[in-house]
């Protein structure tokens, strides 16, 4: 079942002539990262914030695991959804440990369980345990957002909403945070709705990208299909498909690979682990002149990519 369903959702702010979100029907599959992509004012943040009811739709409804979110008490709903925002919004008067513990605290966990969970989470986001007693102002922007991520994950929610979480962070730190999010996601399998206006970020993180323009859904596709078959000029312009190698470097093998079948049996094929980008795959194909590369999970082949597949992603839209 889809984790989040939007059914004919529209939102018009009072005093505006055009709706911010215009009749969107959409399913967000469980356990995947779905990126809402579009220029500012396209309605992506509004759409996101309707899921935890920071905004209420003008019409239509939103279902969470099949349940209409209007039927859930609003604070209970929010405590069960992880929420990460661009400005981080850590509480400056609370220690890092207390910041992370906010939702477990609201849920009434006992002290020992909270303590243990805080340690787990610091570990999960690669922060040292002695950060527990520091304060937000003592951390760098990247470290603060790691705490923001830990805080959102604290009560182990099924669904995470991330509103341009890495938008205010320098490029190098941003990349490492993106890598870390992917690594976390491989382990945790959350349903993540992620808003960004950064195309490269979308290509890199998304299992599926939803392109929005003026509140309307323009295209919903995997990063590869989006690159290969952009639906119209708006998407083509947004993706700006000139630097194909750069784009290949952002797309991960798991979004392209086909499951292993009996036609593939060479043990001498080059192998790459899950999470490898397509640029790396391309260079492997170039060097030993192999048309096929195996994708492995913990050393065992689980799928393959052929040069033909790669070409579809890399140049078809030209």
């Amino acid at each position: 079942m889809a984790a989040i369903q939007f059914v004919n959702v529209s939102k018009q702010y009072p005093g505006t002539t055009a709706p911010a979100v215009d009749n969107i029907t959409l399913e967000i599959p469980e356990g995947s990262i779905v990126v809402l992509l579009g220029p500012s004012g396209c309605g992506k943040t509004t759409l996101l914030k309707m899921v935890n009811r920071l905004h209420e739709p003008t019409s239509g409804k939103i279902l969470l695991d099949g349940v209409d979110i209007q039927s859930i008490p609003v604070n209970q709903l929010r405590r069960n959804i992880g929420y990460v925002i661009q400005q981080v919004g850590l509480f400056p008067h609370l220690s890092i440990a207390k910041n992370i513990a906010v939702v477990p605290d609201l849920l009434g966990w006992d002290r020992q369980r909270i303590n243990q969970r805080v340690n787990e989470l610091l570990d999960l986001v690669h922060l040292p345990l002695d950060f527990r007693n520091r304060y937000p102002a003592q951390l760098s922007g990247g470290q603060q957002q790691r705490v923001g991520l830990a805080r959102a994950l604290a009560a182990d929610p099924e669904v995470m909403l991330m509103d341009e979480p890495f938008g205010a962070i320098d490029a190098i730190t941003r990349e490492s945070l993106q890598d870390q999010l992917l690594e976390l996601q491989r382990r945790l399998k959350k349903t993540i709705l992620f808003v960004t206006h950064d195309v490269e970020e979308a290509l890199k993180l998304a299992d599926e990208i939803i392109v929005l323009d003026k509140g309307r859904l323009v295209q919903k596709d995997t990063p590869c299909n989006l690159l290969a078959n952009p639906a119209g000029d708006f998407v083509r312009q947004l993706l700006n498909t000139d630097d194909r190698i750069r784009q290949l470097s952002l797309v991960r093998v798991e979004t392209v690979m086909k499951p292993l079948d009996s036609t593939i049996h060479s043990n001498r094929l080059p192998r790459v682990p899950l999470g490898t980008d397509l640029k790396r795959v391309l260079s492997l194909m170039l060097s030993p002149a192999s048309d096929t590369v195996l994708v492995c999970q913990e050393g065992n082949p689980i799928g393959y990519i052929t040069f033909e597949e790669l070409r579809k992603v890399g140049c078809l839209s030209a």
Binding site: N75, N80, Q87, V88, G89, F91, H93, Y135
Partner: protein, 218 residues
């Protein structure tokens, strides 16, 4: 000139030595009057300030009302109240409370209005109720700015509590009125100098309190 001043101060000191019981009683009265006024102002204006920061209606009406009250001198307020409450300490306390209210109200309003929106959004997004947000997030972050208002009030009120003597409510003002009546500066100083010292001391203590309660550690 300097000789005269030193002589007057010496006279003041002797006057103080001769009337220690009365003096310390006046100090206590003074502090109680000022304390009650500041306490009442906090009790009334912190909740009102939270309200005005969140409601346009409250902000328009209350803030204008209070700003209007500010232009009336405390002495005038005192004399306006006397016909209703008589020559009592209640009159003095009402006048002083009215004096103490505006800085507390204005600073509380500003404190809550200038909270960082992202912090409030995070608190809402995590499922804190309005009351939990207020107690756990908004209030602790607002305290330093509110205390600035309390400091301004405290200085005003401690200085102005000398007016209480006009309505026979004691306090260090008794030496000032007495000094005026007898045209004797040395008596006037017995009231004026301690008031200045107490004002400075309270200002310092509140600044220290503000520093300790500063919620944002860097």
């Amino acid at each position: 000139m300097v000789d005269t001043l030193i002589h007057t101060l010496w006279q003041s000191y002797l006057y103080f030595l001769n009337r220690q019981t009365e003096f310390w009683g006046a100090v206590v009265d003074h502090l109680i009057l000022a304390g009650i006024a500041i306490g009442l102002a906090i009790l009334v204006c912190v909740p009102l300030g939270i309200w005005t920061s969140k409601s346009r209606f409250a902000s328009l009406t209350l803030m204008n009302l209070v700003n209007g009250l500010r232009v009336i001198p405390s002495l005038a307020v005192l004399f306006l109240i006397i016909p209703y409450l008589g020559l009592t300490s209640t009159s003095a306390i009402v006048a002083l409370t009215i004096l103490a209210m505006p800085p507390v109200l204005i600073n509380t309003d500003a404190a809550f209005r200038t909270l960082e929106p992202a912090i409030i959004e995070a608190a809402r997004g995590m499922g804190m109720s309005a009351f939990q947000r207020l107690i756990k997030v908004e209030f602790p972050l607002a305290i330093p700015v509110i205390l600035t208002g309390v400091r301004i009030s405290a200085v005003d009120v401690i200085a102005s509590a000398t007016l209480a003597a006009f309505v026979g409510s004691g306090g260090l003002g008794i030496y000032i009125t007495r000094g005026f009546a007898l045209y004797d500066y040395s008596i006037l100083f017995v009231g004026a100098i301690p008031v200045a010292l107490i004002t400075l001391a309270v200002e310092g203590l509140l600044a220290l309190l503000q520093k300790t309660l500063q919620p944002i550690k860097t």
